[in-house]
């Protein structure tokens, strides 16, 4: 109080009485509440659960074979399915032997079909794709599968993207663009889309009928096939170059959406740069981190290394074997532990774990960690490869 020599006279002695009433007034208000049941779950909370369910159960309804592409299309049905935006993926959970695997497959159906209880996936047998091979060999009509809610940012957003989109697909990367084409045909999306679909040979084209149905339904969707390994009339031949993009792109500004293997992103990305397209105008669907770190830029580890991964899980500790030639997530999943993973591309951060000891390699192309996480030793196991024994604090489900 010593330095206090300024007084403000504001109110009279009535204020003191009012002050004394603060507590009785609140007491009275609180006591006057209803004696009805309580809940913290309101309509908007239910909406959040509906939009982003932790799990959904689907039944395999129909399977379409694309033998030339080494792929199959799956129609899946379920009740009150979460809506999605064309271009998003579905995290699929697989239990194979004692392992729990998660894979992200892009939805290729019209988003409006979700409200009718229907999703569609296109899955291609990939070289290191243990899971995709298992699905192609095992899923049959009537099977029940578990998926999470739709995720991913490879969707069209008019506040960000140009009204004209050039969609560039390689192989099974056609799925998000098919979903967009169907959404435009159905009137649920409002943009023009020209798809440049690159395959090696004609027989490898997936979803041709469905793509052409969408293109027939609306003038806003066009499909151009580009074959790299054969020349056929009615098809473009070669790679998807700047000249080819320019040939089909509009004069006005446009956005490019790329969906395919990483090698295609590198090549077509370079072509886009030649066209003066900046980051805003080129969007890529997330690519899964490779199964093995071998050949990744900056990798100096030993893929034949045999390590021990110690996992501090809620309430327990486990030690599991881990190989130098696989991601940390692969070791976790082989042990049957659910690590919350969704994208497998280092992007979504759901599998985030804290490194307590050990050395690792996080390839730059798949390192989308938050700055503070990278600085404080948090990793995304799906895109991290071991260089030694490791101990992780993992918040598994």
């Amino acid at each position: 109080m010593a330095d206090f020599n300024f007084k403000v006279s504001l109110f009279g002695f009535m204020d003191m009485l009012k002050f004394k009433k603060i507590v009785p007034l609140r007491r009275e208000k609180l006591a006057g509440g209803e004696n009805t049941p309580l809940t913290g779950t309101f309509p908007i909370n239910k909406m959040a659960e509906y939009l982003h369910p932790k799990h959904q159960t689907l039944t395999v309804k129909e399977i379409r074979d694309y033998p030339g592409a080494g792929a199959k299309g799956y129609v899946l049905e379920g009740e009150s399915l979460a809506p999605f935006r064309a271009g998003q993926y579905l995290p699929v959970e697989l239990e194979i032997g004692g392992s729990v695997l998660h894979r992200a497959y892009t939805l290729c159906s019209d988003p409006a079909d979700a409200a009718k209880g229907r999703y569609e996936l296109g899955i291609k047998r990939t070289e290191d794709g243990f899971a995709s091979a298992w699905i192609l060999d095992n899923w049959k009509p009537g099977d029940q599968i578990t998926v999470a809610g739709p995720e991913g940012q490879c969707y069209y957003e008019p506040l960000r993207d140009e009204a004209y989109v050039v969609g560039i697909a390689g192989g099974s990367g056609i799925t998000p663009l098919l979903s967009m084409a169907r959404a435009i045909a159905a009137g649920t999306e409002d943009f023009d889309l020209t798809i440049l679909y690159g395959c090696r040979r004609e027989e490898q084209i997936m979803f041709r009928e469905e793509l052409e149905a969408a293109a027939a339904a609306t003038e806003r969707v066009k499909v151009v096939y580009i074959l790299s390994d054969e020349e056929r009339p009615g098809y473009e031949h070669g790679f998807i170059t700047a000249a080819l993009i320019e040939k089909y792109a509009p004069k006005a500004s446009y956005s490019v959406f790329m969906c395919g293997p990483e090698a295609m992103y590198r090549f077509v990305g370079g072509e886009c740069e030649k066209l003066g397209l900046d980051k805003k105008h080129v969007r890529c669907e997330a690519v899964p981190a490779p199964a093995s770190p071998e050949g990744l830029r900056g990798y100096t580890g030993d893929v034949s290394g045999e390590y021990t991964l110690t996992l501090r899980l809620p309430g327990e500790e486990r030690r599991v074997p881990m190989k130098g030639g696989e991601s940390v997530l692969a070791a976790i999943e082989r042990a049957g532990i659910r690590a919350n993973t969704k994208c497998r591309a280092g992007e979504c951060g759901f599998c985030r774990a804290k490194l307590l000891s050990g050395e690792y390699f996080a390839p730059e192309a798949f390192d989308h960690r938050r700055a503070a996480d990278a600085a404080h030793g948090y990793i995304h196991p799906c895109s991290t490869y071991p260089l030694s024994d490791m101990t992780l604090l993992l918040w598994a489900e």
């Binding site: 300024f6 403000v8 603060i22 809620p314």
Partner: protein, 508 residues
């Protein structure tokens, strides 16, 4: 039954983490349960493309400087939480779309600079502004006394030494500013921060508002260099170092009660034995969804039903492919309102059509390295005080959130002359449903229970003890006694951690 803990904290939000750190530092065995996969609650971040966005923190108040530390700096120092901070340059810029008295003004931090600037905008405001500052000093001293007395406030001391506090504390902002004979235009400028509390100035406690403004003016504000996620990471790491445990992706499903107090918390990973539960989540969820109705006393049910939910949050985040200089952005914080008739503003934020409120941040102004060179990150925040989002059908959800965001960008362009729309490289839009998804807050509120005139900060603090109606259950964070906002919830966590230790001692 798995292990036994001295305390279990439900929710790893700001209050939960500081409560846990406080307990762990005192050697208590503590476990934090968090339903989401990452600790932090609102204090987090997310990456889109080459941008890492700040989801919620606009400016951390009450941090102060090394010479004059605020409560939060002192708390973080005591807990051993170390971070890099960036000072926020100016207090705020406020633009009123349709106000007859004032239009566009930028106010600095520092009491003298603030009063001088006010005199410039509103000639003749100086005497009332000086009285206001002096009154704030009184309130600050009274608060310090009350905090030190921790519940044992001597009414004689209050009447003798803190009379001004007793006189103005029961009144709302507008009444006290009128009594200070502050010109209307100056009141409007001074009231700009109202949206940080989300209660109109005719219902908002003067005491609470004045203390907040005062802390901003004397201590300035800052933001962490690596988004508020870095605060959560630092607190998490510290809790672990101190021997505490955190289980994410683990929802507290049920609080098991015996003889009127908790004995365990049920999770999918087993029942966790404890006699003390600190909830950093809503009483609605705790007493409604986590406890058997028979275990909830009637008085608690009435108490919880009487509370009024605060504002539901909405934020549009954009990463822009131009620098702030190229865009012409000079200010860090923009409050845009239709007018400073805040009661009318509160009516207008009840509906999509009339909501023009935005609190917009250009993070690069305070933290130039928060995004790559040649880019800018911004967040456009508004709120809703009604259940208007309930009426949105799932098929219209994306369209609706896009329209709300687009309207904010348009208003911002009209009012500041800076049109960001051609430069959007990344965008993410969070609605009340998004906040509900990540934080499980009822109705997607960002401001917990509204701090209206009867449920004010002062009233809550004065009823600190009697608000515990179920022994062994206390609330930290935004639903706790210290209100919402970053600094309040951190300080609240410490308070609740200490009170819980006192409970343990007395076996309450």
């Amino acid at each position: 039954m798995t292990a036994k803990y001295d305390a279990v904290v439900i929710g790893a939000g700001n209050g939960g983490l500081t409560a846990a750190a406080t307990l762990a530092k005192a050697g208590k065995k503590v476990l934090v349960l968090e339903q989401h996969n990452t600790p932090g609650g609102f204090a987090s971040s997310f990456v889109r493309g080459r941008f890492e966005f700040e989801p919620s923190l606009h400016e951390l108040c009450d941090f102060g400087t090394e010479e004059h530390p605020g409560d939060v700096r002192r708390l973080f120092d005591e807990l051993g939480v170390k971070l890099d901070w960036c000072p926020v340059p100016d207090a705020f810029r406020t633009i009123l779309i349709n106000d007859p008295d004032v239009k566009d003004y930028t106010m600095p931090f520092g009491t003298k600079a603030f009063v001088d600037k006010m005199e410039e905008y509103v000639p003749g405001s100086r005497p009332s502004m000086e009285k206001f500052i002096s009154l704030c000093e009184d309130l600050d001293r009274a608060t310090a006394y009350m905090s030190a007395a921790s519940g044992n406030v001597d009414p004689k001391v209050m009447q003798r030494e803190h009379a001004n506090f007793l006189k103005c504390a029961p009144y709302p902002v507008s009444v006290v500013l009128d009594a200070l004979k502050m010109p209307k235009a100056a009141q409007k400028i001074l009231g700009s921060y109202w949206c940080y509390i989300g209660v109109d100035l005719e219902r908002l406690s003067f005491f609470f508002y004045a203390i907040m403004v005062y802390k901003y003016l004397i201590g300035g504000a800052c933001v962490p260099a690596q988004r508020s996620h870095s605060i959560s990471v630092a607190l998490t790491d510290r809790i672990l170092e101190l021997g505490g445990e955190i289980w994410c992706s683990t929802k507290a499903e049920k609080i098991l009660m015996k003889d009127g107090r908790p004995y365990a918390v049920r999770t999918a990973k087993g029942d966790i034995e404890t006699r003390h539960v600190i909830c950093c989540c809503s009483p609605h969820a705790v007493f409604g969804d986590m406890m058997d109705a028979a275990d909830v006393p009637e008085v608690q049910r009435r108490d919880t039903n009487a509370r009024e939910f605060g504002m539901r949050g909405f934020v549009a985040y954009v990463g822009l492919n131009r620098s702030p200089e190229e865009l012409g952005l000079k200010d860090y914080s923009y409050f845009i309102y239709n007018s400073m008739d805040t009661a009318d503003e509160c009516r207008r934020v009840g509906a999509f059509e009339t909501n023009d409120v935005q609190a917009t941040i250009c993070l690069n102004i305070a933290n130039p390295h928060c995004s790559p060179a040649g880019t800018t990150t911004m967040s456009f925040t508004t709120f809703f005080n009604s259940d208007v989002w309930d009426s949105v059908k799932p098929e219209d959800y994306v369209k609706t959130k896009r329209a709300v965001a687009a309207h904010m960008f348009e208003v911002f362009a009209e009012q500041t002359g800076v049109d960001i729309r051609p430069y959007i490289e990344e965008i993410e839009i969070a609605t009340p449903a998004t906040l509900a998804r990540y934080t499980l807050n009822p109705k997607g509120v960002m401001y917990a229970y509204a701090g209206n005139e009867w449920d004010s900060l002062l009233a809550r603090l004065m009823m600190l003890s009697e608000d515990v109606k179920v022994p062994g259950i206390r609330f930290a964070g935004a639903y706790g006694p210290r209100f919402y906002g970053f600094s309040s919830t951190y300080v609240c966590g410490e308070l609740i951690g200490k009170l819980t230790m006192a409970d343990m001692k007395e076996d309450k």
